[in-house]
Amino acid sequence: MTATVPPPDTRSFRRRLWRLAETVTTPVLPSDYLDLVAPLRAGAELRGRIVAVHPETPDAATLVIQPGRSWRGHVPGQYVRLGVDVDGVRQWRAYSVTSAPGRRTDPISVTVKAIPDGVVSNHLVRRLRPGTIVQLDQARGDFVLPERAPSRVLFLTAGSGITPVAGMLRSGALAGSDVVLVHSAPTAADVVFGAELRGLAERGAIRLVERHTEVEGLLNVAELDTLVPDHLERQTWACGPLGLLDAAEEHWSARGHAARLHTERFRPTVITAGDGGTVTFTRSSVTVEAAGATPLLDAGENAGVLMPSGCRMGICFGCVLPLRQGAVRDLRNGQLTTALPGDGVRVQTCVSAAAGPCELEI
């Protein structure tokens, strides 16, 4: 690192030069011009160029992305947020990094499964073309292996939930561990990374239990007692549909081993809808009617408000805004939050819906 930090005097010289450049390009910024020719340069907002799109299964594809020079790398299991323009509208979604960590200038990959009616996933899997510039965010998330790999590991995954685990398996961090992977997919052909996983199993690197739910039915977590008898003694990472994760959490805590289970959800468990109401985004001067099941984040975005966002499911707090007045309901637990005029109660807009008229400051 030291080599890349210029001595102080050149730094202040560069800063002054930059300030001069800003005066030259006012009212826009020098970067607005540089972006026209070098969107991936160092110092630019993080973006990536799609290098290739490889189909994995009939409805999943891997995107190989060359991140810009500001990319700081990732830890296997973490996700990146991807901003793509679908029908001209910027949409942000989170995707687990499936490539092994490499040099910061190496391409990374994410693997996307198209879900029915999914706006972004279908666009990425079916319409994205190499060469496209996408917006990126630095990797984040704590669904990661500890620094020293545990000796015995269980991965419990289903569908696209294999993605963060694929990143861990590929990283080589588990070379010395005893690894079991129990993975569910509708059929053998739907197993994302099927050939690679089977290859790992053949080489003895992992024990693979594939569950093809179309013929064998959904996995009942209690079956783990026979499939992986020592599963409670293993450090376990689980990722997949909400039903599977909820059942796993219940199973592990009922047996008193909740601490050994690590889960990653791709979307929030929603139990209660609010009552809906008129939402005002004060600084943007936008007012909309929002339904009781619509997260405030979606309501704002649909009205063209530049809403901050992150995971879109209540874990990262990237979407928090002050509630100036009114009432909102947390979609995950039905909890009501109210604010009196002048208050600034901070709410997570991605998992909160209007419960009567409310005002958000943005």
Partner: protein
């Protein structure tokens, strides 16, 4: 022009309240259709205009580094003038209207955009979007009617100071951006009524001051100095480009609401105004400019002022597309769609500035003026029958 309520022939007398609401619904339907179909094509359009503008601006400024040579001066000045016009009209004005907010691109968004203009974007947005577009052509409410310095409607009271208004209008045209900044500050009123002591007003004045300084530094110091031996030539080129941009935007904007045929409204007429009535006010209170596609882009599609006033936040590239439909509605409801070529509308607007510099003649002017463009349209009475 005189407020619609006092006219000998009221141009909307033939419409029932129900007609007006149906008309409003038809316009709502056009709006909904455009909103539902906004997409990739529109996004590609505005990005292309922005990147073209930026390349043209850089290119012109580079050429002007050698402005000592007359051909470079001419090419550079012309290019920079066009770039500045594009930046203010098709890009700035429309982005600040929120026409592109639906793309959710933080770089092309009404809340983050700043433009090449001495009026800070947030101040302009407030006076333009919240006052002018809401109170369009309501005498005493819409300060765009003469910008508070001129009399452009018979129903605005005459004052001897109005004798000088052709001169003010010319000066305003030359330094239009400063006129707008002063207007957004409500400078005249504030100075008159002692409001200049208000801390909020002072904050706004300081913001304008900062903006002017940055604009000056760029156009009148940095680029000239960078040009070395061409310093004075570049200075003159930048001044000229700003002047051209000011004259052009002033002319286009005058054509929007001042030409003959545009109606004005009384303050009381907007009390309890319905959506349909609001639409009708926009329809009759605006005028279009006819011309080529390039001309429309250079006016920021304000040549479709009528469509813009009906739907201020639809993407500008769509105004041209919906214009035939909007015009058909005018015909069907027997309303006058005021339009004309740029020279004709500019002339018409200027004529009014001159005419109203003097007090009203006893007899109000006949309702149909020689510049009326509705000869080929049925008169309201006939359609209503």
């Amino acid at each position: 022009m005189t407020v619609i309520q006092k006219k000998a022939v009221n141009p909307i007398a033939h419409l029932t309240a129900e007609d007006i609401e149906t008309l409003g619904k038809e316009l709502d339907a056009i709006r909904e259709r455009v909103i539902a179909s906004r997409g990739e094509r529109d996004a590609a359009y505005i990005r292309k205009v922005i990147s073209t503008q930026r390349k043209l601006e850089i290119g012109s400024r580079v050429v002007l580094l050698f402005s000592l040579f007359p051909p470079a001066w001419i090419v550079g000045t012309a290019g920079l003038s066009v770039a500045k016009i594009l930046e203010n009209m098709e890009i700035g004005h429309n982005v600040l209207h929120g026409q592109w907010d639906w793309m959710r691109d933080p770089k092309i968004h009404s809340t983050s955009w700043e433009w090449d203009h001495v009026a800070p974007a947030d101040q302009w947005k407030q006076s333009h979007n919240e006052l002018h577009h809401r109170f369009t052509n309501v005498v005493g409410k819409d300060n765009d009617l003469g910008y508070g310095i001129m009399r452009v409607d018979e129903d605005q009271p005459w004052h001897p100071a109005h004798l000088g208004q052709p001169l003010y209008n010319f000066l305003n045209a030359c330094f239009f951006e400063y006129g707008i900044a002063a207007y957004d500050l409500d400078l005249g009123n504030k100075l008159k009524n002692g409001g200049h002591k208000d801390p909020e007003f002072r904050r706004r004045v300081r913001a304008v001051g900062r903006k002017i300084r940055r604009q000056f530094l760029k156009d009148y110091l940095l680029f000239p100095v960078l040009s070395g031996p061409s310093v004075l030539h570049t200075l003159a080129a930048n001044f000229t480009a700003n002047l051209v941009r000011n004259l052009w935007s002033h002319s286009v904007i005058m054509c929007g609401h001042f030409p003959e045929g545009v109606e004005t409204f009384e303050k009381t007429s907007i009390e309890g105004e319905t959506r349909g009535e609001w639409y009708v006010r926009q329809m009759l209170g605006s005028a279009n400019i006819s011309g080529s596609r390039l001309m429309h882009i250079m006016t920021g599609n304000l040549s479709f002022q009528i469509e813009h006033h009906l739907f201020p936040d639809l993407p500008s590239n769509r105004y041209q597309e919906i214009a035939p439909e909007v015009r058909a509605l005018f015909d069907r409801y027997g309303l006058k769609y005021t339009t004309g070529s740029l020279p004709r509308q500019v002339f018409s607007a200027w004529r009014k500035v001159f005419r109203l510099a003097l007090p009203n003649r006893r007899q109000p002017a006949p309702p149909v003026t020689p510049l009326d463009d509705s000869a080929d349209h049925p008169t309201p009475a006939l359609v209503a029958a």
